[in-house]
């Protein structure tokens, strides 16, 4: 197509970009507001609420819980998601599509279903809602993230590499250790970082599996609903943005560099 008259398109692109980023910019600015009332424009700037929030015992406990949940869920997701991707990659196209379709269901179906289903399940099994149940809920969707990332990489790997390895008498395990694993390591790493970010920020499934536990997003949700400690909410929300965007940036870098390797 020609490159003529994209002015209308350019305006549309600029509008969409503004729409996407203005709210994020505003929330970042609010974190530095000195006031304890939430009004625009910001009258004075200060870091005082960072000090208040980081000294708040509730916030600290919620933060630690979220870190623990995200770490355990990510570890489980890396193990299970990588195994699933490698197995699916070896399958014939027919069964592969069927298994793939089933495996992405936790992401394709509404989050409330996963949450409510697990809640009904745990309640039927008389399992108390605690750390374990939060981790199970998060792992269910974190697996999909790792799986998607690793499978995408495996599909781009030329079969000739593993075939060459077999021709040189390497067994399945040796081929895995010397060829497949090193070639997919960065995709696994990227998947892990994305899974961590997703878990750290998750609310919907968590509301159904947390019981009396409070993860950081649950603390934020509670505070907003009660309209209490909103200056602290501003700061916490800003911190969550930073803490999720950092691993995601790193993940992007990992997959980007690896992408270049194979071209």
């Amino acid at each position: 197509m020609t490159r003529r008259r994209p002015l209308l398109l350019q305006t549309a692109v600029a509008a969409v970009l503004l729409f996407l980023f203005v709210p994020i910019a505003i929330i970042v600015v609010y974190a530095f507001s000195a006031s304890n009332v939430q009004s625009w424009p910001i009258a004075a700037f200060s870091l005082r609420w960072f000090a208040v929030a980081s000294a708040d015992e509730e916030v600290r406990a919620a933060f630690v819980l979220s870190l623990q949940v995200a770490s355990v869920a990510t570890t489980l997701a890396v193990l299970l998601g990588t195994l699933a991707a490698m197995a699916v990659n070896r399958m014939a196209p027919g069964p592969r599509d069927a298994v793939s379709f089933a495996l992405v269901l936790p992401i394709a179906l509404p989050g409330i279903l996963t949450g409510m289903a697990l809640n009904a399940y745990f309640s039927a099994a008389h399992m108390a809602l605690d750390f374990t149940t939060i981790v199970i809920g998060h792992t269910v969707f974190c697996i999909v993230i790792v799986y998607n990332n690793v499978l995408a990489r495996l599909r781009r790997l030329p079969r000739s590499l593993t075939e060459a390895s077999s021709d040189l008498w390497a067994g399945a395990w040796r081929t895995f250790r010397l060829i497949t694993l090193p070639m997919t390591a960065s995709a696994i790493g990227a998947g892990a970082l994305l899974a961590f970010a997703l878990s750290f920020d998750e609310v919907i499934v968590t509301t159904f599996t947390a019981g009396v536990q409070t993860t950081l997003p649950l603390w934020v949700l509670g505070a907003i609903r009660l309209g209490q400690r909103l200056p602290e909410v501003n700061v916490v929300v800003f911190a969550v943005i930073v803490l999720t965007i950092l691993p995601v940036g790193l993940a992007q870098k990992l997959t980007g560099e690896a992408g270049q390797l194979h071209k």
Binding site: M1, R3, P6, A12, V13, V16, F19, L20, F21, P23, I24, I26, Q38, S39, W40, P41, L80, G81, L83, A84, M86, A87, M91, F101, L103, V104, L105, P106, A108, L109, P110, G111, I112, L113, M116, A117, L118, A120, Y121, I136, T139, V140, I143, G171, A172, A197, V203, I204, F208, P217, L221, I224, R225, V233, V237, F238, V240, T244, I245, V248
Partner: protein, 293 residues
């Protein structure tokens, strides 16, 4: 031991499916135990009941939960509101994503394209709650939107805590999920097709309508799975930016579990999004959306 291991290795080596099955065993068991079994128990609980005196779940099969859902107009309104808003959000995002993706793929250089792709991805990872809360601040009485309107000597907005606010915030939240697959679908279209279309005398608009749009449909459908499904299953956004009469299916489910402690009724209502999504996914599969994911 080594001999047995070697024997096992040869055995597995001659039967590649065995290795595949062994690899799949762990993730598949996890999936069955913690996801499929949970979905099944959701289905089953929907046909149970809570004893009004003890609050315990009674395992007697009944259709009462579904009868209540269909007979009570409030629940019909909630279901209708959820599905209609999910559809409106999907259409809005498709309309917004189309020009963006078109520019990204057809008019941007390699570097601009990469920058725009990154720009679309970043908000997705900027904390869901943060972005909903941002809109609550923007739309509040002392918020940035009223401030901007007043600068232009316009009256205050009236959308805060209404269904309009929910529609706006959902469209905002899920827009990247629509842009990315649409851009991916457009990227796969060979330039030769567009040249052929032009050579055959088609105007730019005709090419857009008869070549680009039909070929981008798998991308649009793939994006719509996300926008539709995510809206359908959400209750945080209606809770935070909606008003008194803007409950979604999710809000009723959440309240039934958290406040009323009535898991069977919540399960029955949660089955509805499952049925809607099942129908949606089957149609999407027909339209080739899964190849565009």
């Amino acid at each position: 031991m080594t001999a047995q291991l070697a024997a096992l290795r040869t055995f597995a080596g001659r039967r590649p499916w065995l290795t595949t099955a062994a690899m799949l065993a762990l993730p598949a068991s996890w999936f069955v135990v913690f996801y499929l079994a949970a979905l099944v128990s959701l289905f089953i609980s929907a046909f149970w009941q809570v004893d009004s005196l003890t609050g315990e779940i009674v395992h007697i099969w009944t259709l009462d939960n579904f009868r209540l859902l269909f007979s009570e107009p409030t629940y019909r309104h909630v279901a209708l509101r959820t599905v209609l808003l999910a559809a409106s959000v999907t259409i809005t995002d498709a309309l917004l994503a189309w020009p963006f993706a078109l520019f990204l793929v057809r008019h941007a250089g390699a570097r601009t394209r990469a920058a725009l792709m990154a720009a679309v991805t970043v908000p997705l990872w900027c904390s869901y709650l943060a972005r909903v809360y941002a809109w609550r601040l923007i739309l509040s009485h002392d918020g940035a939107l009223n401030w901007a309107l007043n600068l232009l000597h316009l009256p205050d907005q009236k959308i805060a805590y209404t269904n309009w606010a929910i529609w706006l915030v959902f469209s905002y939240l899920w827009l990247p999920f629509m842009i990315l697959p649409v851009a991916a679908a457009l990227e796969r279209i060979s330039p030769t097709l567009l040249e052929a279309s032009a050579d055959l005398g088609a105007s730019e608009f005709t090419t857009l309508r008869r070549v680009l749009l039909p070929l981008a449909i798998p991308g649009l459908v793939a994006g719509s799975i996300f926008t539709f499904s995510l809206t359908l299953g959400d209750f945080i956004t209606p809770m935070l930016v909606g008003g008194a009469g803007s409950d979604f299916i999710g809000n009723v489910v959440y309240a039934s579990v958290g406040v009323a402690n009535n898991v069977p009724f919540a399960a029955a209502f949660a089955v509805l999004p499952l049925l809607v999504m099942a129908a949606y996914l089957l149609i999407a599969r027909r339209l080739g959306a899964f190849k565009a994911l």
